[in-house]
Structures are given as C-alpha cells and as structure tokens.
Amino acid sequence: MTNENARTSSHFQINELLVFEEGSPGRRAFDLPALDIPAIPVTEIVSPGLLRDDVAGMPELGEVDVVRHFTRLSTWNYHIDLGLYPLGSCTMKYNPKINELVARLDGFSMAHPYMPAELTQGALEVQKMLETCLAEISGMDAVTLQPAAGAHGELTGILMIRAYHESKGRSRRIVLIPDSAHGTNPASVTISGYEVQNIPSTPGGTVDIDRLRAIVNDDVAAIMVTNPNTLGIFESDIAEVCEIMHSRGALVYMDGANLNAMMGITRPGDFGIDVLHINLHKTFTTPHGGGGPGSGPVAVKKILEPFLPIPVVSLKSGGSYVFDHDRPQTIGRMKAFNGQFGMHVRALCYILANGPDGLKEVSEMAVLNANYIRAKLSDAYELPYDAPTLHEVVFSDKLQAHFGVHVGDIGKRLMDYGFHPPTVSFPLIVPGAIMIEPTETESRQELDAFIKAMLAIAKEAESNPELVKTAPHTTRISRVNEAAAARRPILRWTPELGESLS
C-alpha cells in the first residue's frame, strides 16, 4: 500500500474510548480546599427545587486517566509542528512558541475585562499598539480588534458600510460578490440584511471590469473583493474597481484572508479599499487551535471610523489608555468585552519579532515557495488559469479525472505520504480545484518532499488509480461514510448509545 516515496512509517497509536465510557465511581483528579467559612446546608440557601443531582453521565477519572485520554486523542491529529500543511487560503504557517509564552503571562491571562483602566494599562497598550501596526501594514486609518474571527470581521465591516450609507440617507440593497469568493462573504452579507449579487470572473480569473461598470448603480452598497483573489492572482485592475465603486457612492470591502502575500509590498488602503478584515490566525501566526479561536480585526478608512464597534481603545491626553464607549454613530457591539485578547498578544509578538524587513521577507518567501511548487507541478497537474500567482496556486484534477481520480482522492493519498491535503474543491469556479498555499515557513527540503509526493500521486493516478481512489491506507481510520453520518446524525454520547454499541 505504501511505497518507497512515502516518508511515513508505522508507529503504534493507542485506542481510546470516549471519556464517557471510561472511569469508575470514586476516581478523582481534583480536590477543592476545605471551605474556610462556616458551612450551612446548601438547601437552606437555595431551595431544593432549584438544585439538581450530580450531572448524569459525567465520568469520574483520576488525573493520569485524564492526561492519558487527551494525550492519546492528540496523537490522532496531524498538525503544523509535524509537517507541511498546504491548505490554500488558510495560511497554515508555523506558530512561534514565544507567542504562547507571552500570552500566558499572568498579567494578561488573569486580567478581568472590567478591571479599572488604570489597572490594565498593559493590556490596553498591547491592543493599541497592535491596532497601530495593523493600520500601517494595511494602509488604513483605524482598526477595531473586536471581531472574534474572519467571518465575524466581515459582518462587522458590512454593518459599518450599511451604517455609513444610512448616515448619508441612502437605502441601498445590494452587495456585489465575485464568484471566486469565500462562502462566508455572501453569508455575512445576508445577515447584514443586504442582498447578494454574484459577478462572474473573467476567463483570466479576475473581476470583470466592464461587467462591473455596467452593473453598479445607486442600489449597490459595496463590492466584496478578495485580493490577491482565491486563485492567488493579484487583481491588477483593483484601483479601477475602487474608482468605479466610489464614483457611484459605493464602497469596497476587502477580504483580507490573503494578506500574507503583500505585507510591505502593497497596501489595500493605498489601492482604494475602504474596509478590510485581517485574520490574525492566518498572517499573524496565532494558532488555529483545531478550529478556533480565531481573531478578525477590521481596518477602515477615516470615513468609516465613526461607525466602529464600541468600545474603542483611545489614548487620553495624559498618556493613559481607556475604553471609549461614547461613540454616537457606532454600529454597536459585535461581542461582549473587546475581542480575543489572547490572540492580540500573540499577533503583536509576531509583528514585533519580524519588524518591517521581516514582514516583507515573509511575504516574499511565501510567494517564492508557492511559485516554486507551481513550477514543479505544472507538468503533472492542470493549471486552469495561467496568470502569475502570488502566495498560493490553484491546480485542477482534470488530468487525473481522466483516470477516475478526483481531487478528494489526491488529497487523501497525500496523507499516506505524510502530508495534510491542500484545500480541495475551492474556489468553486475551478472544477476539481487543488489549492496549495505552502507559506513562507517551509524549507526547500520540505517543499521538495511534498512535490515528490504530488508527482508520485500523479503517476499512481495513471498506473494504479484504485490505490489513489481508496486512499488513505496508512491512517488510523479510513474514509468516513459522511452521507450515513449525516442521514442519522449521532451528535452526543448517551448510555443507551453505549449499550447499542457494545
């Protein structure tokens, strides 16, 4: 099943039940200090009718049981510290360890958000400094750190656009979205109460300027662009896109998912963007955490500043920082408190560790690595758009589909070679898309190993398609029957379920 190209080898993994199937009565991993006040029966404080019995179904475990349970589970994961994670659009780069250390300092991790400002100057300073750095990197005027993730940032940005138009007495309805956009874009527009109008890309994979000019009217509130777009192509007409929108009083939102391609090279604010979100968990190395927490700061031009969510971190004349809540035109709050602060600390640490030269080099190396992969794989995999690409490259499975091997299969087979699959089947405008983003943190050796694996899989697709179509063969489990799981969803463990399985 495996072959000499694979860098995987077998190693034992320990099977592990669900935590609810483990433990035994009386096991404990935790002791509470004795109560230091006179105890009275709790039923004399709160009426017995409001109290519950011990939570049913919760297991009782010793400390080593808990540690082993979660350690065993952890060994079933692929992760960035193990190897290349070439998910296009997700920017899976190495997460420096110092980020974790500084975010865990007591002064940060134990700070309560309602502490008086004079007792949290350090936290506020970190937030202000990060805002200032992000504004400079993106070429914008002001930043809010409040949004909890990229999609939350999108919603924040669109709500600000809406508030802006309303402040001008305009009731516009439509937001334009290119067909190559992330799925969160149209979803964010809908919950902002706007309507989505899709605009098709040109054969070159960019926004169709003539089409755009014809579509934009006084009912259009904004366009949401991604630049570089999800094909990795820089929208060379972006300045003109902005001009067309602005000439009709509409604004330009940029999905900043791909900022990793342009730090210190070009700035969204300089090419006319009015508002963008930034994914700290992509470009700025806050860890993905197995799917969050993320963090999605939003950067805006002056015209949108009055609409920023509250609170805004501001510097008082005496040189101290405060949360400013007195913002009459604000869109309100996107979230309680002020954002995923722990992520702000990590992102600032990354920016300070790199400095202006370092960040530029990050983008250069990210683009170099992606183009190296592009050059090395473009004979074996079809390149649907041949425009120059930046930090990521999108191939298709067209050549392999001829043998019945599809993008999903290629991704699964990569696991046997010891790699995480790239993003598959996105962007939607490329049938069988294989979207590869290596990021700057990968060495040439790691890239070469990946390239070798991809080339070997292309050969296997011809010589032994069945091997690829049934992959992976070396993972802990084989492919999951997703349709069956969705048909009769089992979303929690229950004692009855335990009985039916045993």
Binding site: V42, G57, M58, Y78, A151, F234, S236, I265, G355, E482
Partner: protein, 428 residues
C-alpha cells in the same frame, strides 16, 4: 528556486502588481526584536496589569481555579497547531474531543444536541435569537432587562437590519423576570422570550412558567447561561428550547475578555437550524467508529448566502479546555465547586447585611453574584478600596441607572474568607 521558477529575482514574482500600487518604503512599524527583547517587552506590559488585587468582579467573566493539567494538555501542538478537522482521517483527536464537548454540554443543559461551540456567550445568544427567528418565522422578541447588558447590545447589533424588534421585560423586586409582564406582552407574533439564569444580578430564574407562557403562543424559550459553573448544582433552565451560554468558567482563562467559548444547545427537532459546526459519530469504510464534521449543508461553505449563519469557525481549543476541565473535576468536583460558590456568596451577603448599612438588592435565590446598593458616595469609597488592593465589583450605574449607586459583586470558590472580610470592612 528562482532558477526552477525561471526568474532572476524575487522582485519578478510581484510583476503582477501594478507599479503605482507598490509600496516603495519600509513599513513604519517597530524594528524587529530578538527573543530576549520580546520577553522583556511583554513582561513589562503584563506587569502594567494588576495581578495582586482581591477582585470581586464577575459580570460574565469569572475567576475559578484552573487545574494545571489543562494547560499541559492544550499546549500539545497536536491540538493547538491543527486546523479545523475537515480531513477526518487525520483529525480524529480534535473531532472526538469536540464530540465529548458536545456531549458534556447536553449533560449540563439537559437538552438533546449542542454544537461544537461558538465565539463566546454574547455572539452565541445573538445566534440563538437569529435561530428562533428562522424557526418561528416571527420577528418580535421579549428580552429580559436582566440579561447581560453587553449581550443585549450584541443582539441589537445582530438583529438591527433583519427587521427584528425587541421589547425589554423588567425585573421585579426579587430580581427575577416580571412574569406578569411576559404574559401581558406575549402574543402570536412573538418569536421567543430570552432570559438569563443566573441573571446579570446573580439571581436564579425559574424558567418553567416563562417557557409555558411562550409555548402557549407558539413562541420559543431561550435561556442564556453566562456562568456555566452554576449548571454543576442548579437544575438546568426548565422548558427552554434553546440554551445558549458562556463556558469560560470551565477552565478558560479570563484573558481580558477573550478568547472564551460559547455553547448552544437545543432540542433534536431544531438541529438543522443550529448555526456553527457539529461533529457526528459514524463509521469508516471498515466499520470502525469514527468522528466527522456533519450536517454541513447548513453551513456557509456549502449554502453561501442561504446558510444558517455566516460562522465559519468555532472555538475548538477553548471547547477542548471545557472538556478537559469537566473530565478533571468530574461530577463530584463540579458540584462541590459550584456549592462553594453558593456558600461563600451567601456568607458575603450575610456579612454585609450584618455589618454594614448598605442594602443587598433583590430577594431571589443567588448563585455567586449579588447587588449591593450603597448609601453613600461611591467615588471616595472606591479610592479606599483601590488603596487596599481590592477591586470591589462592577459599578453598574451605567447599565442600570435606576439602581443608583450599586455594585455587582462576585464571590467564587477562589475568594478567601479573609478577602471577603476585608471587602466587608471596606463597606462599613
């Protein structure tokens, strides 16, 4: 590498970016710092946040003991440097842990299903409101004034452009929702009644009657639980169709307000209207138990503008924290911890009543928070508290001007008797 690509310099890679758009200077950000410099900088900044105060702050973020093993386990890079578990074959660790989190949340809430977590309690409650809007196809909501004020502001932000109307329901002298007012405001246009328990004042609500009123008119009952620790000893809100809450109390650091973790639980029949990710149990090709993200046809990457929500991510690592916390404390440890919160809070209330002239507002049952209405000027007292290194709670006049000079005070299992006594002395 340049040769393989067929270019002479890295500069050529950026040829697709028009020259006028290129930045021809270095970014104006601080120069790069080395590791020792970074540590000095961040230690300095962290030191400008106070850590040596006795704090009586709660109001949605709670100081509970965090077992040491949590950080050891979540610091495994297998967990924290992995991506969303879209590729189930190599993400079973994350998937099973989230499935366990979902199960724990159903056990705590007494409902049938819980999702893989949301950004936090406040956005979770916003999502719960949108969910009820979709289920009932109605647009009017009755929301208790005793729901966390910042959560209410989030709901307003989320709902403003969707034609959703909000009517606030007052609280009574015992601190609980005015049930008569709910009955009076209820009709067949109401989508849901939203309450919080324990509410913002720390008072425990009895939701059964509220839910019954809602159900008679075809409306839903939504209950927000900011203090998840309470579910270790209090009955979960009775009759609720959706329980939304904040899981920070279950092992997540306060971290100046985030990252925390929202949970959202509901009845089986509404599962397809749940926002956010869900992990399901299934089988692989060989019939082995396997976990996988499921019911994704609700989600934005498939449904785009018709999705149940724009949410893409959850708070996986924080959900993992909650699962580890609950596994560590177990049902006994959870209950004992929760009970100490009740005991110590009760002690503080008794002491203030016995030894000061201030009023404890609201007579309803409490978990670990209460409101003290002060009889004198707060500012000078506040200064004295600060000198004695005590943060005496949250002054809530900005949220509830009608309560005058009032402090929302939180006492947890981590608050020592000495701290409570010093606090009470400060109120004398």
């Amino acid at each position: 590498m340049l040769e393989a690509i067929g270019i002479e310099s890295v500069e050529h890679l950026f040829a697709g970016i028009p020259e006028p758009l290129r930045l021809r200077r270095l970014l104006d950000i601080p120069r790069a710092l080395t590791e020792p410099e970074l540590m000095r900088f961040f230690r300095g900044a962290a030191a400008r946040n106070a850590t040596d105060y006795a704090s009586f702050l709660g109001a949605g973020v709670y100081r509970h003991h965090i077992p040491v093993i949590i950080d050891a386990l979540i610091s495994r890079s297998e967990f924290y440097t992995a991506y969303t578990p879209y590729q189930a074959e190599i993400a079973q660790g994350t998937l099973q842990a989230i499935f366990e989190f979902q199960t724990y949340m159903t056990q705590l809430t007494g409902l049938d299903v819980a999702n893989a977590s949301l950004y936090d309690g406040s956005t979770g409650l916003g999502e719960a409101v949108l969910m009820a809007h979709r289920i009932t196809k109605r647009s009017r909501f009755l929301i208790a004034k005793s729901v966390h004020p910042e959560y209410r502001t989030v709901i307003v932000t989320y709902a403003r452009n969707l034609g959703i109307e909000i009517q606030l329901i007052d609280y009574t002298e015992n601190g609980q929702v005015d049930i008569a007012a709910v009955g009076k405001a209820m009709d067949h246009t109401i989508a849901a009644v939203v309450v919080q328990s324990p509410n913002f004042f720390g008072t425990i609500e009895d939701n059964s009657e509220i839910a019954a009123i809602a159900h008679r008119s075809g409306a839903l009952s939504i209950v927000n639980v900011c203090e998840a620790m309470s579910l270790g000893i209090l009955k979960p809100p009775q009759g609720a169709d959706i329980i939304s809450g904040e899981g920070q109390s279950l092992g997540v650091p306060m971290s100046f307000g985030g990252p925390h973790v929202g949970f959202l639980a509901t009845r089986e029949e509404f599962v397809r209207q749940l926002p956010g990710r869900l992990v399901g149990m299934g089988e692989d090709q060989h019939g082995r138990r396997a976990f996988v993200l499921t019911l994704s046809t609700r989600e934005q990457h498939i449904r785009r503008e018709k999705a149940t929500s724009n949410i893409c991510t959850n708070q996986s690592l924080c959900a993992l924290i909650c699962a580890i916390y609950l596994a560590t404390v177990g049902p006994k440890g959870l209950r004992e911890t929760a009970e100490q919160n009740i005991q110590k809070t009760h002690y503080a209330v008794q002491q203030i009543r016995a030894r000061t002239r201030h009023s404890i507002l609201f007579s309803g049952p409490r978990f670990n928070e209460f409101v003290v209405q002060m009889k004198d000027d707060y500012a000078s007292r506040a200064q004295r508290f600060m000198r004695n290194r005590i943060i005496p709670g949250l002054h809530i006049a900005k949220f509830y001007p009608e309560l005058g000079n009032s402090l929302l005070v939180c006492v947890t299992e981590t608050t020592s008797r000495d701290q409570i006594d010093a606090f009470v002395k400060g109120l004398e």
